[in-house]
Symmetry: C2
Subunit: 423 residues, 2 copies
């Protein structure tokens, strides 16, 4: 430790809840409240760095244990931070305890717990040196980051509530209408449909309706492993000339490899390759052609840059995954995407689906489907303390403590089972 | 470009020459002068960053072309720097034009030309933010970096010269004596013998003599591809319990894969995997178990960190390669190694073989075979202007303009051919 170094003096972990529409997916439906945790790291030099992550109870407990262990650490020592997270988690690393609603099987909590602290430390390093986080990752190669409009099948409203202002989207026409609003409001230049909700024929029809309505926009379909290998190949055949990639048609590296061997449609994943240990077998089997990065899951921005380098080295395309998130995450995603030369596809984002945020307005606005990369020091976003307080209050009172899409779905359809490999 | 940013205002590329002993290898013998280029980048804020690289004529011309193109650039924008190097080189990227004495076949000059400028920019970023370069790479995970004593067969002196003070090393006893001096003088905790000079039996005998003289030190043998696959397997069998790895016993990924399939001795390389494009075929063939990183060759410190991440992901060991070099390179190597968690083997260095340097004394001293990682801003080394002037003067007068081990060997043995796959 060097004299004059700014050291970590306080760490706050604040769980927040914000309204989330009833978005349907392979494991059920989004609950009325989405949870996130906001991490604030203060330093002896008076700096404040921000991070954002999942907020399921088990994950929160781990975040808080790490927060307590961070006092006195040098925020520049990211390798030391990672070792400290590993030491703090100790044997408690089985299962991420994080917010995937049963959709992902995350084998280690280290990367997910480390991530928001790494981002907050990079925010501090940037603020203290006067440089944006994109500079710390090698420099922005683009001034604006393209995002994809993320379409969901959805109910008109949560059970017992009035319809929300998006309304129902349960057939091709309603999906096209939702897409129209996404494109008109945010300017998205590509569209992704979350599938795995209805039989593949219906979801293919929705994609074909989108193609007819938006002849020039790249389209993606992501059924989150709802199909068998055979069905995946049938869909790939039907949509081959229509979609830019098919995301996780079937579960697992072995299944994806069988699909991959039978089609020229690029296969993307955020399910079978979600950690570095999955890369060697997936590459050996040529199971996927596009990896979806996600700094929350892959251990922060620098390890996501490593993933990008691996994708580049092995000739894989790169896109970016999204869970329901707020502005601190969007800022981190934007800096990462800005500094990633081989971002070959527009990033996913759930951002249009939320109506509240914890950051001060005026940055990270969408225009033409893109977000302008902040050029101020650090992440370039500031907390709105009133908003943070409100969303924390919502967390305290909403009653949701973990993401449980299947449990929530069963309050409406008691016999519901996840659609994994169903069709 | 942001207001108040420190921009590149001047770039100097200074070729230098320093005395090099007649070290023997597969392609011939080291010339009496080793060449390096020192890169100095000045900024509008008054900072100075240092880099060091090869200085063969073709490489120097490319360095100078890039130097001219750098004025006004932001040293933080490393991605932009790389694009600028690529644009400057244009179509002139075939062959590295760099100093490998015919030993390596480098397909692109981009990484080798980019490297010293990247290091100099990292030196500037560190100096301006008050942090050592190891911090910019994620933070030092070790306070001292272990290096391996690098043993060479050698003549007593250059033809026509008096013997140098190392004297001849042409048989096992002389190699053991050389090793004794390396261990006594620098404290090395492991030893590497550069082979490919004599028939494998003699080199195996030298390794066995080293084992007898230094029972506890890890040993390595590197014949630079001098052997056939069959010979490599025989040597692996003979030295299996003695060496920690065998480096490049035979040329090429296919040949190395055949050796690898027939032995449990780990195979290392700095010949068949020297660029990112070589990683996929080498990994697919399980051709190597240890990769030797080299930031001069792999495109600087950040891309070497990417290589380390790939090695970690794919379960490969990691060591570090060395050419004849001066202190700026040693500083960069030390910061890189310090911040690389998975540096599984001590680094190579030619440092003990040189008698002159361009950096001010007092840092980068060897103790116990290790170099203490500088903790001051940037690389932590300063130029000795008098020494730089002297070594540049030596460059101007020595007559050597490129590394030509084979040409020089033929002045002594007119019919000499490189020993590649000879035995």
């Amino acid at each position: 430790m060097r004299a004059g170094t700014s050291l970590i003096s306080r760490v706050d972990v604040t769980p927040v809840a914000f309204r989330d529409p009833p978005l349907l997916n392979v494991v059920g439906v989004h609950q009325p409240w989405a949870l996130r945790a906001i991490v604030e790291i203060h330093t002896t030099a008076g700096s404040l760095g921000l991070g954002e992550t999942y907020a399921d109870e088990a994950h929160l407990a781990r975040l808080r244990a790490v927060a307590d262990a961070l006092l006195g650490q040098d925020p520049h020592d990211l390798n030391g931070l990672r070792r400290l997270v590993a030491a703090t988690l100790g044997r408690e690393t089985g299962g991420a305890g994080a917010s995937f609603g049963g959709m992902l099987d995350v084998s280690s909590a280290l990367d997910t717990v480390y991530s928001p602290f790494e981002v907050a430390c990079l925010d501090i390093i940037g603020r203290e040196s006067g440089h944006p986080v994109s500079d710390l990752l090698g420099g922005a190669v683009r001034e604006k980051v393209p995002f994809s409009g993320y379409l969901f099948y959805k109910w008109a409203g949560h059970p017992g509530d009035e319809p929300d202002d998006w309304g129902a989207a349960l057939d091709p026409d309603q999906i096209v209408a939702q897409a129209r609003r996404m494109v008109d409001g945010w300017g998205f230049g590509s569209l992704k449909l979350k599938g795995g909700v209805f039989p593949p024929d219906e979801e293919c029809a929705a994609i074909e309706a989108l193609r007819a309505a938006f002849p020039d926009l790249p389209l993606r379909l992501d059924p989150n492993g709802a199909w068998t290998v055979e069905t995946s190949l049938q869909v790939a055949d039907r949509l081959g000339g229509v979609i830019e990639y098919l995301e996780d048609p079937t579960p697992g590296i072995a299944g994806m490899a069988r699909v991959s061997a039978g089609t020229d449609v690029p296969l993307a994943t955020n399910m079978c390759v979600i950690a570095f240990e999955h890369l060697p077998p997936a590459i050996a089997a040529d199971a996927v052609q596009v990896v979806l990065s996600d700094h929350h899951l892959w251990g922060g921005l620098r390890r996501s840059a490593l993933l990008a380098g691996i994708a580049d080295t092995f000739g894989m395309g790169l896109s970016m995954h999204s869970n329901s998130h707020l502005g601190v995450s969007l800022a981190a995603m934007t800096h990462l995407a800005a500094s990633t030369e081989n971002l070959t596809y527009a990033c996913d984002t759930h951002y249009p689906w939320k109506t509240q945020d914890v950051i001060a307005k005026g940055v990270l606005e969408f225009s033409g489907g893109e977000v302008t990369v902040p050029t101020g020091p650090g992440l370039g976003v500031e907390l709105d303390r009133d908003a943070l307080g409100l969303l924390h209050e919502q967390y305290l009172t909403c009653g949701v403590r973990r993401r449980e899409d299947t449990v929530y779905m069963r309050t409406v359809e008691p016999g519901f089972e996840p659609n994994t490999s169903r069709w």
